[in-house]
């Protein structure tokens, strides 16, 4: 448990301290709250040989694959959601060249179960799945267990315990007590499964703001190693209540990622070419159009 005051740090320091070459890295968030800011910093710091795990690799892992950070990808749906393909990923898998990408593939339920097992520190998780499919044939880590009560065979997946999990959230206090609303994905499970946790937030709030509504807390500070304040850090994905998804960029990625040259130029301009997220945002003047409208709900009474 590191000292409380020291958890709040710039992204550069958080990645330097907690993400190492060869690590299994999870940047979770299902469409919502995908921390591009952290992914870009990992690219910028030229981490290598990472095992990247995530249900939906999305654009951020496509960029990290394109930048050469990844040795292996663990996933359940590798597309550009609502648009098409992840072409850096496809190139690595369809025509493996000098830098082959190992893949380990599940369904969403399988990945959710792997994180659930990891969070519970159990070695496996049982699920009723995969019968009649070709997935266990190509992924020998999908096994079965016999129920001690009914005698039936159930599928199992092994626990996934990342070295580091990065979660983007709407707000946290300085100790890392983190609140999320809107889609929750598997962030809670991924964080509890992980040896180290970096929380990146739109807003750093006073501990009292967290304490005023404790049922919203998804990740407790006691499992958090670093808190990074990075407004718009999930762009071009979105943060409910803060900004909308930049769908134009998701559409544009189809063409950018199709061409290795264009992808390199994108990384040169928007990742390597900027020192940090603030500089990236200066290159995105149009993002203000994505700012969320007000739809504030009523509070509830915690009195007694």
């Amino acid at each position: 448990m590191s000292d409380h005051a020291s958890k709040v740090m710039p992204m550069r320091d958080a990645i330097a301290r907690f993400v190492h070459d060869g690590d299994t890295v999870v940047i979770e968030g299902f469409t919502h709250l995908i921390c591009f800011a952290a992914g870009h910093e990992i690219i910028r710091q030229r981490r290598r040989d990472l095992t990247l795990a995530r249900l939906t690799p999305d654009l951020i892992y496509d960029q990290m694959i394109g930048a050469g950070c990844a040795r292996k990808l663990v996933f359940s749906w590798a597309g550009n959601p609502g648009v098409g393909s992840l072409h850096a990923f496809r190139r690595a898998v369809e025509a493996p060249g000098t830098a082959p990408l190992e893949i380990e593939e599940y369904s969403h339920f399988g990945m959710v179960a792997r994180f659930s097992a990891g969070a519970a520190r159990l070695p496996f998780w049982p699920l009723r799945d995969y019968m009649g499919t070709d997935l266990p044939r190509v992924n020998p880590r999908i096994k079965t267990v016999t129920c001690p009560y009914t005698g039936e065979d159930l599928a199992t997946v092994p626990a996934l315990n990342p070295d580091v999990t990065i979660v983007h959230a709407q707000r946290a206090d300085a100790d890392g007590n983190t609140q999320i609303w809107g889609l929750l994905g598997v962030q809670r499970e991924a964080a509890f499964a992980s040896a180290r946790v970096i929380v990146v937030v739109e807003e750093l709030v006073d501990e009292q703001a967290i304490r005023s509504d404790p049922n919203r807390t998804v990740i407790p500070g006691m499992i958090v190693d670093a808190v990074v304040v990075e407004p718009w850090g999930a762009h071009p994905s979105y943060a409910q209540g803060y900004y909308d998804r930049d769908n134009d960029f998701y559409v544009a990625w189809e063409d950018i990622s199709r061409s290795p040259d264009r992808l390199t130029r994108y990384l040169d301009e928007f990742v390597y070419g900027v020192p940090d997220r603030a500089a990236y945002l200066k290159k995105q003047p149009h993002v203000t159009r994505l700012k969320a409208k007000e739809r504030v709900c009523a509070g509830v009474n915690y009195g007694y």
């Binding site: 939906t56 969403h108 994180f115 699920l127 019968m131 929750l184 598997v186």
Partner: protein
Amino acid sequence: MMAAVAARELRNGEVVFVGIGLPNLACNLARATHAPRLVLIYESGAVGAVPERLPVSIGDPALVTGSLMVCGMADVFQCMLQNGRIEVGFLGGAQVDRYGNINTTVIGPYARPKVRLPGSGGATEIAIHARRTLIVAKLGPRAFPERVDFVTSPGLRPQGRLRRELRMPGAGPVKVITDKAILEADEATGEIVLAALYPGVSVPDVQAGVGWALTCRSGLAAVAPPTPQELRLLRDVLDPKRLFLKQ
């Protein structure tokens, strides 16, 4: 047309596991017509969504705002899907075969794919657990081969065995809604067979889009064209920008 046909398959009050695109349109059309109390569940965790805009991704914030419940994905897959609460699941895919198996993983061999597709997502478990599934796909010989290259989502007789022998809770694909006809599961053979033609479509038209000798139901039904109300809702209200309505 496909959206209208799919919408008619949904009954009021049912719980539907829905993806983006045509299934979403179909569900919204059903809600706007005969099934106002349809409950839409997205794998992202939004339950009972009433999106104010056409969602562009399965995790669109418009699916959250004003929904009945947002829960984590572990709950979606364990407490809803595996629990047996999902009555209808929509599936699509690059390949659908004679037995309703779906491939969304690879074209060609797995280790050296010709085309690497996105993979399962939640499709594998939807195919296994939803009480029935509806497949939505356009006909074509490459889309409907006799055997898929990879079984991502099991159909009526995966690996030559009955679903219940494999202890699959759901009934599997009861209908395949295409751009020319409706195919149906045949219980006796486990094959998908031609059940109903769209207006102006002939049996050879359908056969041309299927990679095996398609069995026809005796007494083929005719699918009614979209009503003016259905067309108006789809074109003017539900997808005015034609994001998913291509025809």
